[in-house]
């Protein structure tokens, strides 16, 4: 897959929020690629910068946030070099996003069908209302909702149905990249699973790529083929999800900590280890590696210098411990 041109290429991107006390970096020197047909998971805790990064990719940053360094390319095109009109046409046609709260993503005073038709017609003006309506039916079928529900208003639908329609709208124009920001967090386990199964099925047929953002490690480990772990604004590890485990020799200490912090369904566990302390305040980051105050393996180097990225097998890890590892190469 490496020879393909990446669908999403984030290179050394930093995103800052302007605050009264000066700029605060919510994403720091982040690099991430997503290749065609790939599902990449982005996990992190609240405040780790994962949603900021997603909005940055969509060029939807607001509240004084902006890209201050690096570039973000989708299908080879620099998202931040586009003119306004160009961007408007590009967004949703080539990249789309599923937001966490389906209720806020849908317009409460329009029927679902009108919203889908709106989306289709604004990007494909030559499409007639009739054609758009037929396409809406097709999309409803794809997310397995009876076409009769298209005439419903958002408040008449269950949370699961709403989120299915939001997904239908996101894939309406068959974009190359769909960013999903915690699309199922507010839903019941069974609904969550059936929506994820459907996403995967549609993704297999249509072949788009997904950047899947979540805080749920075990969910992402099953859903994505590669996982990026974000902590305090940096991507500290990218690994194939099949390789993930709690092995501290192969992974970033934070990844290992997260892994050991979740109860496993199929294992008899007597204790959970958890990670001591709590996530840092991004306005006041620890020196060196931002994870060092919570890391059991931290030493003086970790306290003073920011670690580089190291490749080891199929993982890229940002940790001083991997500098001395055999077989690790500088990225």
């Amino acid at each position: 897959m490496v020879e393909d041109q990446p669908v999403l290429d984030v290179r050394n991107a930093s995103i800052a929020y302007q605050t009264a006390r000066g700029p605060v970096l919510a994403a720091r020197d982040v690099s991430l690629t997503v290749y065609p047909h790939e599902i990449v998971g982005l996990i992190g805790e609240s405040g780790s910068g994962k949603s900021t990064l997603a909005y940055g990719i969509m060029r939807l940053l607001k509240n004084g946030a902006r890209l201050v360094q690096g570039e973000i390319r989708i299908l080879g095109r620099d998202v931040y070099a586009m003119q306004k009109e160009e961007l408007r046409a590009f967004r949703w046609l080539h990249m789309s996003m599923v937001f966490q709260s389906a209720m806020n993503a849908l317009n409460p005073v329009l029927t679902i069908e009108d919203q889908i038709i709106d989306t289709l017609q604004s990007h494909q003006p030559q499409m007639t209302r009739r054609e758009a309506s037929l396409r809406a039916r097709e999309l409803a079928e794809m997310v397995r909702i009876d076409a009769s529900r298209l005439s419903a208003y958002p408040h008449e639908l269950s949370g699961g149905m709403r989120q299915r329609f939001v997904i239908a709208i996101a894939i309406a124009l068959e974009p190359a990249l769909v960013i999903m920001d915690e699309p199922t967090t507010a839903l019941d386990v069974v609904v969550q699973r059936s929506i994820l199964d459907q996403i995967r099925e549609i993704q297999k047929v249509k072949g788009f790529s997904i950047l899947f953002i979540s805080h749920d490690f075990s969910l992402v480990a099953e859903f994505a083929s590669r996982i990026a772990v974000m902590y305090a604004g940096r991507i500290v590890e990218v690994s194939a999800s099949g390789l993930l485990d709690g092995d501290s020799l192969k992974h970033h200490p934070y990844t290992v900590g997260l892994w050991n912090a979740i109860p496993q369904l199929r294992a008899r566990q007597l204790t959970l280890s958890g990670i001591p302390g709590s996530p840092p305040d991004i306005q006041n980051l620890p020196s060196g590696c931002a994870f060092h105050p919570r890391c059991t393996l931290a030493d003086d180097t970790c306290r003073t210098s920011v670690p580089d990225r190291w490749s080891r097998g199929k993982s890229v890890i940002e940790c001083h411990r991997f500098e001395v590892e055999e077989g690790a190469t500088h990225e």
């Binding site: 069974v190 699973r193 490690f217 050991n260 109860p263 369904l265």
Partner: protein, 323 residues
Amino acid sequence: MQRMNKSPVISVEQLKVSFPVGTGWKKDAIVPVDGVSFSIEEGRVLSLVGESGSGKTTIGRTLMGIVRASGGKIRFYDQDVTRIRGRKLRDHRRRAQMVFQDPYGSLNPVRTVAQHLELPLRRNPQPRNAPISELIDELLTTVGLTPVEVMRVKYPHELSGGQRQRVAIARALAVRPKLLIADEPISMLDVSIRAEILQLLMGLRDTMHLSYLYITHDLASARFFGDRILVLYGGQVMEEADSETLVEDPRHPYTRLLLAASPGSGHVGLLPETSNQSPDLSRSRQGCPFANRCPLVMDICRVERPQRTKITEGHYTSCHAEA
């Protein structure tokens, strides 16, 4: 296993809660909890698992006397607490306490940590005659909020989610309860914090001789924390067993569905269900609440409510297919 044969702290028999809905000629009632029975022995943890609308939170609130039962019986040790009010209810709430899901909403924003603990400590007789400040420090240490002199004077907005939940736990412990009802205590916390809060609750079980009703939607944490798991659907108990049996040998089709859907189950392929309708909670419903989604549904399921059937000692299910 070694703690068997202890007397139950709380036992619930055929608990029923109904809420009125509609007005005038459309007046009706829904029954979010319908015929639920269980008991929790001293020092044990019962996990109540179900999705939203299954009645799990309503059960927790009913045990605290926040919601009134419309039928059935709740016994706390040997006292009937189903319909108590006034002074008796206040006494009951000294022995049973609740920790809520939202640590942002359950604390008073204009009170410091110490003030949150002071009131319950003053209002309730303490075993020894120590100054309140000493008791506050003791509680803070118990829940891991150290250094105490720093934490005492903090306001909720200065604390992280995990620390707030620790304050909520300390406040519950201030009255020296026998039973703690923990309603999704970790679901709003960051992943890296959850383990520590669960670990804290587990530790308190032993040091404070607490029993727990642990309410959750997450089977993995229900298994980790609970000695036994009770699976609810549409206000009724679908299956009940010790945690390991329930996860490794589920019998009820709904338990199987829930397990297959849970991350980490290893289940591949389509989920074993036929539709995604939500359960009917109306008063007039008949049969098994899961019938409209069940892959094994039979005619009898739609008209007759299944009986609780014993599978092995301690493992029960309510399903016509098992009977």
